[in-house]
Amino acid sequence: MDCGDWLSPRSLLRSLQRDEFDDRKSDFSPEIIHEILSFGAVVGSSIDCHCCLDRAMDEARRLISDNDRKNCSTESGRVILAERMEQARGRFARSWHAPIGGLWGCLILADTLLPEASRLLPLALGVAGCEAVAKLGGGPVTVRWVNDLLLGSSKLGGFLAEQYFSPVHGESFHLLGFGINVNNHQFPSGLAEQPTSLALATGRKIDLAPFSLLFLRKLAWNYGLICFEEKQMLAGEPFSGHDGAHALLSRWRELSDTIGRRVAYGYDIQKNLQYRATVTGLSADGGLQLLLDDGSTIVEHSGELRYLD
């Protein structure tokens, strides 16, 4: 994959400082934007572009392990991209079709966040994907809890968050995997959900490198937001979202239509649908609040949804 000038740490940083600043100035003061951007600027500290990988997450593990054995630490913010992946998969070892044309990759982050903050990383992925597609004018994009990216009712992208401990020194990293259907338009039959791509939805070919830059920029912002809100919490200051809520959760609520929906819930919903319920809200720690048919309530912090209405 030719990253070229479009997709380099320098171009990403420039885009963060200029374009992301402009995108956020109606919601935050310049001082806060600068602070959030300085936290997020680690994303894309280096960007590796490959023609083909089996899996970007596996490549990240290999890099971390190799560095660890040489008594080196892998840089936080390193991004691994591939034009296509041969053995891509989602959660529960589900296969993921990743041919040429999509945005496939992984971000490596050193585990420097408190558990209360790092649990929000999967939400940041969904919000970043949603914001990037919306910015591109890709159509009615929404995020379904936790972070499924939907265009209308079709699945546009998926994200994977895993923690990895280096084998020798036990250094902890977050591996954030992303897969967005951009120009790819053929999908295997028998998928659990109807897939779509940005090219199919818009009827035009999307320039992949600028879109990748846009997604990474949004991811950098949302990661910076988590760091900033963690700092606020540690200082005993209020969060910076609406009504003192965590700003990432406020943004997630704006971009998601999950709240109020009738849903089927399952830990691994393709294997076991556990119950049906109505979503009533998002808890302060990102959990999904559900009203069951017997009138009782439950808060889920893991699992998957399908909309029923």
Binding site: P115, Q163, Y267, Q274
Partner: protein
């Protein structure tokens, strides 16, 4: 299992003479306490398929005008209560009351096993599933044929769709008991699995058989006396 000698007769005798578990309830954080139960009250624990229906209210604790009601997770009788703390400010972790929970045969066996197995606790409140390799070995041979060692990646912790490998730290042995169900949340500190070294397996089986036999004998004696 720890290397120390365990007097099984003493453990079994304890459960014969007093087949109850005494569950201490502590203040979840600092605040002013107001009890919702009194000594001798019967309380129910959490219920529902996912234990999502709260049990009886035990106490309310209020911190900075933010009240929190704490409910019972187990059924039983209020055995003792620190009534002098009513309306008082307490520190986090202060013991507030004790619930006397009547044990069933299965619970007694589990309680004894928890005393003799190496328990591996949940690092956070989350959902857990076995690592793919361990799951496949369990499916092929059964958990009690699966040996694990310190440092093995045995379980995946799933929280907010973020998967974290959990590495075993404890004595090497076989997975004797599994205390979690995939899809059901486990509280921090609750055991996920109980591990037993190979050479102690026959002894564990002996305990289970003895408890079952003793329990059935007591039950039939009680029925005859009635």
């Amino acid at each position: 299992m720890s290397g120390k000698k365990i007097d099984f007769d003493e453990i079994l005798g304890k459960y014969h003479s007093d087949p109850y578990d005494y569950v201490d309830i502590h203040a979840v954080h600092t605040g002013v306490v107001s009890f919702r139960v009194k000594e001798g009250d019967l309380v129910d624990g959490a219920s529902g398929e996912w234990r999502h229906i709260p049990g009886n209210q035990l106490y309310e604790i209020s911190r900075e005008r933010n009240p929190k009601v704490v409910t019972s997770r187990t059924n039983g009788t209020i055995h003792s209560i620190a009534a002098e703390l009513e309306g008082q400010f307490v520190e986090a972790g202060e013991k507030l009351l004790t619930i006397r929970h009547p044990l069933k045969k299965k619970e007694i066996i589990e309680s004894i096993l928890k005393e003799v197995l190496v328990l591996f606790p949940a690092p956070e409140r989350a959902k857990y599933y076995f690592a793919l390799d361990v799951q496949s070995r369990i499916e092929k041979k059964g958990a009690r044929a699966v040996t694990i060692e310190p440092g093995d990646e045995i379980i995946t912790m799933s929280l907010m769709k973020r998967d974290t490998p959990v590495y075993y730290s404890g004595e090497a042995g076989v997975i004797h008991s599994i205390y979690f169900t995939p899809g059901i949340s486990v509280d921090q500190g609750e055991p996920l699995i109980g591990v037993c070294s190979h050479d102690k397996l026959p002894l564990i089986q002996k305990i289970i058989t003895k408890v079952k036999a003793d329990w059935d004998k007591i039950s039939s004696e009680q029925e005859a006396a009635a």
